[in-house]
Amino acid sequence: MRRVAITGMGVVSPLGNTVAQFSDSLMSGISGISRLQNSFSERLLSPIAASAGFDGEARFPVAKLRMLDRASQFALAAADDAITGAGLDVLRASPERIGVFMGTGMGGAQTLEAGYQDLFVEQARAVKPFSILMAMQNAPASWIALEYGLAGPNLTFSTACSSSAVAIGEAWQRIRFGEADAMIAGGTDAPLTLGVLKAWESLRTVATLDAENPARSCKPFSKNRSGLVLGEGAAVVVLEAWEHAVQRGAPIHAELLGYGLSTDTGHITRPSVHDQARAMQLALASARIEPEEIGYINAHGTATLANDGVETAAIKQVFGKIAHKIAVSSTKSMHGHLLGAAGALEFVATILAMQSATAPPTMHLAEPDPECDLDYVPNQARKNLDIAVAMSNSFAFGGTNAVLVARRVQ
């Protein structure tokens, strides 16, 4: 089986739209979460979100923009940075040997909502002809393939909050088994619409607004945590067969070593310690890594009551006594929950942690929940931390647990 290198990374995120900006904010504990101030924010019980400062009009020609849902815009921008950074000359590398796997949770939610608004509220006679093409879940992956002429396998995974971790893991398999030489993989979501925000609000999973400091609303692993804050953006990585990357002198950021996939079967939302632990164990086994080699875990860490305690227990089940020695952080405390883009963005954060020997912090952790007793790197990044191998956890409503394990490149 072939080894898999990560040769490119690109992000559109609430912490900046380049990997460098994302890294700076992440390691400085700067939050991308703020009070939402728009036409509908007054209708939200908790008007907070992690918005990406992304201007589609500045990025795309007007005729093209009208065919792109915001989720596809994010995906194209992140893919462009990843492919450019990898220096991947598609034609030279053979476009049939390069595919695109993307994850998304809400797909073209903005397009759907705008269409419903036209149809049901404005009583329009017709909806926009591009509605289907913009709203379909596979639009982001398709646009990336079209943009670069990538004729290898093109798939979209929708497993809620683990969608993009699944996309990266499945892409890794394709390269490992020789079905592709390179894969563009990641996820995108643009869920900051009234309809989507209200739906999450009704589930009672959204954090209560901290009026004094809205950024402090999302408090993973805290005793007084009250839920997640939705975010928007995309993250895309270029995965490449190791030899292929070495031969063309590509920049290698890390090696993707392992991927574990398991399913909770007890409940549609309630997470399971046993099954989350199983995903971590499967990832370690496929990476041929012993638990004590893991130096950093980027937790799923949603700051919901249900997740953080269960994830802590699952980490303890897998790592036993050494669980307390591992730096574990939830970067969602800064960039929010990007749903279908979360796994990919946090995988990029995990790679940055290894590269910079710095564990990003879990922000706003003043009073830990007694149930959450690991080392969550509270409130400040930890520098000079030798992280040779790291893990990124992504769990989901619907039960698809996906865990990625990567190794630093010397």
């Binding site: 005729a63 009208r66 006679r125 017709a126 926009k128 002809p129 093409l133």
Partner: protein
Amino acid sequence: MSTLERLQELLVRDYGISREAIAPEMALQSFGVDSLGMMELLFEIEKAFGIVIPNEHVELRTVGQVVDYINKLAAEQGTAPHLAAQ
């Protein structure tokens, strides 16, 4: 405002081309309107001109042909395109 002027306004807005560049003989394909793009253009024309475009196949290749088609439908449907556009 004539039908051509109104159409020019729409094309400037939706395709980012300059008004001066839009002549009646200009091919729609030259600014990226293919068979799919045509669906979008017809949708915008319906809104802008207050006409209903029937589900029929019509060969429209140039800006001038589109203007003629709008005028023909407007006449049949009893709408004055230059008034509906206001």
